[in-house]
Symmetry: D2
């Protein structure tokens, strides 16, 4: 039996679908994750470019938008285990160039900007309650990296019982094998993995 | 540049190390995950067998032990998005054979048994605070599946700032490609991936 | 300036209102909290009796209902700091008479029964995500004690951005001074405090 | 039976004690909470003054210190239910005078500064994991208001299984009746309420 067969035989990869109102969550599309000399590489820039249209669509549809940034304190006071595994994270401070959201996706007034130190956009942040206050029961996810903060955010979104959608062409990673492996895991267990075009078609007012 | 090279060039895969007191967390080693007709397959049984010695070591060392089970309500009242992606999960009820911990690892009095509906052993459970009350700052993880509840538990353990160790030979998955891909991700970003023998050597009283 | 005057002058006690869909959360109306020899006393029985009609209303309106119970493990493995302050809590085990929901409010199939070890119905439980899956953005609270688990649940509900309503005549306490003091705090800062009759009138389909 | 008698007869007000390492958490001692025209009044200034010595003690003892501030986004994007009950909270933005920590307690490099939108210092913040990384199992609490963010922080600290101590003379409120009522609740159920002098004596190296 192939590996895909065992998942199919055990009933994975069901479709969760959309709920009543979708929010766009853009994970860590900041300068430092588009620069291969810092945390970037792979297909991340392609994912940023594809997200520009999606962001415009959500804004035009008057749907909620949240952005995340990794932000550590300048004095290093909030470094933890994550910085042991990846010490360069601590350079992403409030005013560092690497932690600013990429110019093509600059947040507008009224969009939430989440500062986080963990992997998941939900961990130790106000994102969950903010989405409730916006009336959103569905989270559509773009960002990077697929195998890192996107995956962690998707698992938490599902655990919070958000209908969770990952846009395959709007998430990126510094390396393609982890990107593909994590899209597989997410589609099997946590989220509906779709193209951005499919998502926009599904959300288009009829 | 190879995929491993880009991780190395960006400073990933640092060593987090052990803290002052380690707890063993055994994720979802229940009958249903050892049975390929339900959720099992791959190398899960091997991982169960290897964990027997580790559990004995932690007990002999008087270190805290926690076990997790997936448990849904008999009336289906607590089903959520996870059961849309994997509907068979809802069969894992309190008294179902499939949700009982495997006989070789039966919990003893004083060991925590966590009932969970999500992927992570920490999500919507009392595990985090229980570990604090035991004085444990380090989590050593066995269980299944590597690409599912183990990975989710590891990410949360790291986010809670536990020193997090995954025992490579005590975690298993229904399919080997996701197993290997997730060991890679965890070692690069979230946890120290070690053999059980290395862990027991490191924790042995001098 | 009187104490009420300073709250008024600083703009507290705004009205939060109802959202689109309300759920009833009944906190710890279990036998042990109606028995003055265990954790009961004061006006708790009156609050139970008043809740009977409210529960019938929510069921007739096909709105979600959740109940909470305090449940500790028989082997004492999950006792923590709360049991240092109130050691008798550890007697509330799965099958103890004291931890069964009072007969007048027995849960029906499809209603969530939350087992908790903390004060808040949200802490270390699946309640938050369950309410999202039910589509509820508003939490209407009955239960006991006003100064204990009701207050803790209300603060968390507000922090999760639920519109939060406390039914003054459906919450009770073993002592009246803490009951009144906590109704005051909740009304000033966290929730709309209303009579059950007002709540049912507000939620009645027009 | 008096109200105190019923608590005593039911076994409340046990002593939780200190663990191995204590951290000081100073809740919302910011300018806006010392100004009666904004959120202050009552005995808050007295509590600030008393905390100066305690902060010096923790610094001299090389024990961890965390401060909290209420900080809302300038564009109002993160306002929620709390701002419906207390609309003036939204004025506490990053650079507002009212949200700066009082000069007498200015944080030093290495001390954590928690920005929060909720009542509890733990809700939607990194405080819990930060305390683990500092090795602290005990939380000693100063701040304001006793009936608001201090109470919410204390309940969460206890639920996370921190040994939790409230310094009676280092917490303050805009009104004395809620101050006293909440000290009563916390001492009965969640924390050890002590004078600052007792705390410093207990933590003094022998």
């Amino acid at each position: 039996m192939s590996e895909l067969d065992i998942y199919a035989s055990q009933g994975f990869a069901g479709r969760a679908g959309f709920g009543k109102k979708s929010a766009l969550v853009i994970v860590d599309f900041v300068n430092g994750f588009t620069d291969p000399a810092q945390f970037g590489g792979g297909n991340i820039l392609d994912a940023v470019h594809r997200t520009v249209e999606v962001l415009a669509f959500f804004r035009a549809s008057n749907l909620p938008v949240a952005h995340t940034r990794v932000v550590y304190a300048e004095d290093g006071s909030d470094k933890g285990v994550f910085c042991r595994k990846a010490p360069a994270l601590a350079q992403l401070t409030e005013h560092a160039a690497g932690s600013q959201i990429v110019p093509a996706l600059t947040p507008r007034a009224g969009e939430l900007v989440v500062r986080k130190q963990g992997a998941s956009a939900f961990f130790g942040t106000s994102l969950e309650g903010w989405l409730r206050f916006q009336g959103a029961d569905t989270v559509v996810i773009a960002g990077c990296t697929t195998s890192g903060c996107v995956r962690a955010t998707v698992v938490d979104a599902m655990q919070h019982n958000f209908f969770t959608v990952v846009m395959r062409d709007c998430v990126g990673d510094r390396a393609m094998a982890p990107h593909e492996a994590n899209l597989f895991d997410m589609q099997q267990k946590y989220a509906d993995v779709m193209d951005a075009a499919q998502v926009m078609a599904a959300l288009k007012p009829s």
